[in-house]
């Protein structure tokens, strides 16, 4: 049955070509249209659709603050006594200076009025938060591994404003994890924070480090 159909269609193909309408070119044109359209969808439209853009509740100037504190990043992003990492500062820390409005900035006024006075924590959007299925310890990397913040977080401390946070509509996680290049290309160590990026460094440091993570490759070493 199928053999017969096949033969049949090939017969009709030959007929069309013979009719001399140059349809080979048309067919190729359609191929190119399809190709181009889907390349545009895949490379341009899709990333736009995949991520929603969110603005931080309050803008923040790292440079300005960095000048005023004595211990660099750790002044605000510090390790707690039990070794856990504090991450984004809580209101309690900000209040130490910002009980009242200090300067001229509109953003600071908003911060003091909307959050400090009302005692509401600022719902900061965390660019670098890993999915919940990942264990990550800052202490192991910063204290034991002596890594600096920039290796993973880039030049965050040199920003004068907080960039737009892009949230993945499927997973809900930040775009920073996959990286800004939709194809996953990266130039700097901090451009992407996927498992391969962890592995890359852990492979390189294999000799140097004696931690469990660098020696074993079981899933549950890093995943829960």
């Amino acid at each position: 049955m199928s053999t017969f159909n096949h033969a049949d269609s090939s017969v009709s193909d030959t007929e069309e070509t013979q009719s001399g309408e140059g349809s080979g070119g048309v067919v190729f044109l359609f191929f190119l249209i399809g190709l181009a359209a889907s390349l545009i969808v895949g490379w341009v439209v899709f990333p736009k659709l995949l991520y929603s853009q969110k603005h931080q509740p309050v803008d923040f100037n790292h440079v300005l603050h960095n000048e005023l504190v004595s211990e660099g990043c750790e002044s605000c992003h510090f390790f707690r006594e039990d070794g856990t990492f504090s991450g984004a500062p809580k209101l309690a820390q900000c209040i130490e200076c910002h009980e009242d409005v200090q300067g001229e900035s509109e953003e600071e006024r908003k911060f003091v009025e909307e959050y400090v006075k009302k005692e509401i924590e600022v719902p900061w959007l965390i660019y670098a938060r890993q999915p919940d299925c990942v264990f990550f310890s800052h202490a192991a990397h910063v204290k034991t591994g002596k890594m600096d913040c920039v290796t993973c977080h880039g030049e965050m401390g040199e920003s004068t404003t907080l960039r737009v946070y892009e949230s993945n509509r499927i997973t809900g996680y930040s775009r920073d994890i996959w990286g800004h290049n939709i194809a996953g290309f990266k130039r700097n160590t901090w451009d992407r924070m996927k498992m391969d990026d962890c592995a890359e460094c852990h492979q390189q440091k294999k000799e140097m480090l004696g931690s469990v993570q660098t020696q074993k490759e079981g899933c549950f070493v890093c995943h829960k």
Binding site: E21, F28, F31, A37, L39, G42, F46, T84
Partner: protein
């Protein structure tokens, strides 16, 4: 130019190629895999700074100290408190799952009033003011009609101050019917009362015992303070302390014991007497104790034992061969720091006094009383004074009426409360019917023997108020629910851990601020008293429970808030010379009060042997919580499928017994007892004696949530209560039964 089918196909191919050359498929695959590994609806502990709150777990009488980790106001993990004297950092699986009780769906969120038929699950929410007003109105009407005695309260409260507050409420209101939920500790207390003449709790110096003779106690199945006992067992294993388990079935304790002795169920006191016989006959007893600190040993006890309990005689009733009896007796008497314990399984049923008196007599024979490694009488701690209740005339008349449970009567002078007999009075309606019932931290419909009759009797009570935090089987039958905070939200004192051998009090502290519209039952009682007014309100000079607690605990409260427990580390029990306050001022092997009774006579199971050829035993396991607290889902997950399969309870049965009933593994069978019947699935197991079958306690809830309701059989439906002739407490250790193929 002709556009035909091939053009579209080509377009499709081009699109496909383009998509393949773009990151889209790989990115979507990656995102989907991340999404499926991190379902947004799966609860994830909050991130942020941990704080730790130390408090006491009150999910069982174990009294473990716990450290609860939290982030902001969200509790995220419960761990054992490392420096707590009872559990030293350990925790059991129930304690570990406690957060599911705090955050689970079965919590009652606000005061509720029944709107449909009883038990139909139709409720409407009330405000606390409305709820208190409704209860006060009903209670007022009953009082005005002149029968305050017809209001009863069943309380399993873990806080001594809450218990006192409830007793005080009942006294001021005018009812003698304030009942508590008893355990094996109550039987031990009765034994200490009768043999030592003291009001004291039993304390077991497990950590220093040198030989353990356990008469069916589930030392590794949740007896006493479970985590402490587990730890003690590890110590025994290390220092090669022998554990002898006497039990008709291979419980976890029996499996881990050095020696497991199977015994005809219910004959444990006979075996203890048989062991005593060998010890006396071979003069292996502690002569100093027996001669100087015990009364009437030679004339009474020695004679009783030598005349009636030779190993040969005892071996006939118990099924334990006389050589084993002799061997154990010698080992026990010669060991350094021997200790005999009883209280079956977890000790949830108080048990027969014959066993407690016989086993305690064994300890006395070898001098294991108030000595290192033995059993200690830990006297009750003095409580701070509260002003006396000034009863009005209605209250005076009401509280003089007889208690419905016969506690403290001539028949049962040692008992303070006899919940098992209360349920018989409920069923019979005599000497007077109950018009209103208050239930605090108790689930009588589920936990009392003969639970179907209890349910019917409860259904006859016109007004039932539950203070439960959960929609448990009894709360589901009530008319009004005034939900209590759960333990992790409460501030209250906690009595010592069951069987702990030093004076200890704990403080349950709020780990999180209550998230639902619940109130501490102590506050609810105070509000109720105030709403009732008059002399009742006057009896409660506190404006809140916390205020009452502050006054009651005084300076101790501050220390308690810091560490959450206060223990008398250097406590030493009274020496033999000063320990006994019986009529003879000595230890009484046969208590004076029982001279005319037969204190060591075995308790027979209910039922006729010809109609019901086998004996059904309930058993306890660490994986099922069988009291007021129902299993949290995590714990239910751990139940083996030889215990619960789907919704079927499995009955443990010896291959020989199964053969006589024509049953095979996995068959469905109908289990019948004089109290009722239930379908069960057969599980054949060599670990149980022929002629005995067993079901776990704690399954077969009809309420709670879908994680618990409808799973298995509630064994209490199949067992009646047998009042102990001495204590009056429930002594039923099993019941006669039969199986037929279903």
């Amino acid at each position: 130019m002709k556009i035909d089918r091939r053009c579209f196909l080509s377009l499709g191919v081009g699109a496909g190629a383009g998509i393949a050359l773009s990151p889209l498929p790989w990115k979507i695959t990656d995102d989907l895999s991340i999404w499926t590994q991190n379902w947004s609806w799966t609860p994830v502990p909050a991130t942020g700074e941990f704080t730790t709150v130390n408090t006491i777990c009150t999910l069982c009488p174990g009294g473990c100290g716990i450290s609860v980790k939290k982030v902001d106001n969200r509790a995220i993990k419960i761990e054992g408190m490392t420096d707590h004297p009872v559990n030293g950092g350990g925790i059991c699986s129930l304690g570990l799952s406690g957060l599911q009780l705090l955050y689970g769906p079965t919590r009652i969120k606000t005061p509720l009033k029944r709107t449909g038929e009883r038990g139909s699950g139709q409720w409407t929410a009330l405000s606390w003011d409305q709820a208190i007003a409704e209860v006060a109105e009903k209670l007022n009407a009953i009082r005005t009609s002149g029968s305050p005695q017809s209001v009863a309260c069943i309380s399993g409260a873990t806080s001594p101050t809450v218990s006192r507050l409830i007793d005080r409420f009942m006294a001021a209101y005018g009812s003698p019917n304030s009942l508590s939920v008893p355990t094996f500790i109550d039987s031990y207390r009765a034994a200490l009362q009768l043999m030592h003449g003291v009001a004291a709790n039993p304390g077991f110096d497990l950590e220093h015992a040198g030989y353990i003779l356990s008469f069916g106690s589930g030392l590794l199945d949740g007896w006493g303070s479970p985590v402490r006992t587990f730890k003690a067992n590890s110590g025994w294993k290390k220092s090669k302390v022998k554990l002898v388990q006497i039990e008709p079935r291979l419980s976890r304790t029996a499996a881990k014991a050095d020696v497991w002795i199977t015994i005809n169920p219910g004959t444990e006191s006979d075996l203890a007497m048989g062991i005593a016989h060998v010890i006396i006959k071979e003069s292996l007893f502690k002569a100093d104790f027996v001669q100087n600190y015990a009364s009437n040993f030679n004339e009474q006890f020695r004679k009783l034992i030598l005349d009636n309990f030779s190993p040969e005689t005892v071996s006939k009733t118990t099924g334990v061969d006389s050589a084993s009896i002799i061997m154990i007796a010698r080992e026990f008497a010669k060991a350094k720091n021997p200790l005999a314990v009883c209280g079956r399984g977890q000790g949830n049923i108080p048990g027969g006094m014959n066993e407690f008196l016989a086993v305690h007599a064994l300890n006395a024979l070898v001098g294991a009383i108030n000595r290192e490694g033995g059993i200690w009488a830990v006297a009750d701690m003095p409580v701070s004074d509260w002003p006396a209740v000034q009863q009005d005339s209605t209250a005076t008349t009401g509280s003089r009426r007889p208690r419905l449970d016969n506690a403290g009567t001539q028949a049962f002078p040692v008992a303070m409360s006899l919940l098992n007999q209360f349920s018989s009075a409920l069923i019979s309606g005599k000497p007077y019917p109950v018009q209103a019932l208050l239930m605090v931290e108790s689930n009588p419909v589920f936990t009392l023997a003969d639970s179907e009759s209890t349910r019917n009797a409860l259904n006859k009570i016109p007004f039932i108020v539950s203070f439960s935090s959960f929609m448990d089987d009894s709360a589901a039958l009530s008319d009004l629910i005034l939900p209590n905070h759960v333990y992790l939200e409460r501030m209250e004192d906690v009595a010592s851990a069951a069987g702990f051998n030093r004076p200890l009090i704990g403080l349950c502290q709020p780990v999180v601020t209550p998230g639902l519209d619940t109130r501490h039952v102590g506050d609810a009682v105070i509000l109720l008293a105030q709403a009732l007014g008059g002399a009742i309100a006057d009896a409660f000079p506190w404006d809140s429970f916390e205020n009452c607690l502050e006054e009651t605990l005084g300076d101790q409260l501050e220390t308690l808030k810091e560490k959450s427990f206060v223990v008398d580390e250097g406590f030493q029990p009274d020496s033999w010379a000063t320990a006994f306050h019986t009529p003879s001022q000595k230890f009484e092997f046969i208590p004076t009060a029982l001279a005319s009774k037969k204190p060591f006579a075995p308790i027979n199971p209910e039922g006729d042997a010809s109609a019901f050829p086998v004996i059904l035993l309930p058993y306890d396991t660490m994986r099922i919580s069988s009291g007021f607290i129902g299993n949290p889902p995590f714990l239910t997950k751990t139940i083996e499928d030889t215990v619960l399969k789907g919704t079927h309870s499995l009955i443990e049965i010896n291959p020989k017994t199964a053969q006589t009933f024509g049953l095979k593994e996995g068959n469905m069978a109908m289990l019948q007892t004089p109290k009722g019947q239930a379908p069960v699935q057969v599980h054949i197991d060599d670990g149980i004696m022929p002629g005995v079958i067993a079901l776990p306690r704690g399954l077969g809830h009809v309420a709670y949530d879908s994680y618990l309701a409808g799973k298995g059989v509630n064994i209490n439906r199949l067992i009646g209560s047998v009042p102990d002739p001495v204590s009056g407490l429930d002594a039923a250790w099993g019941i006669r039964a039969k199986l037929s193929k279903a």
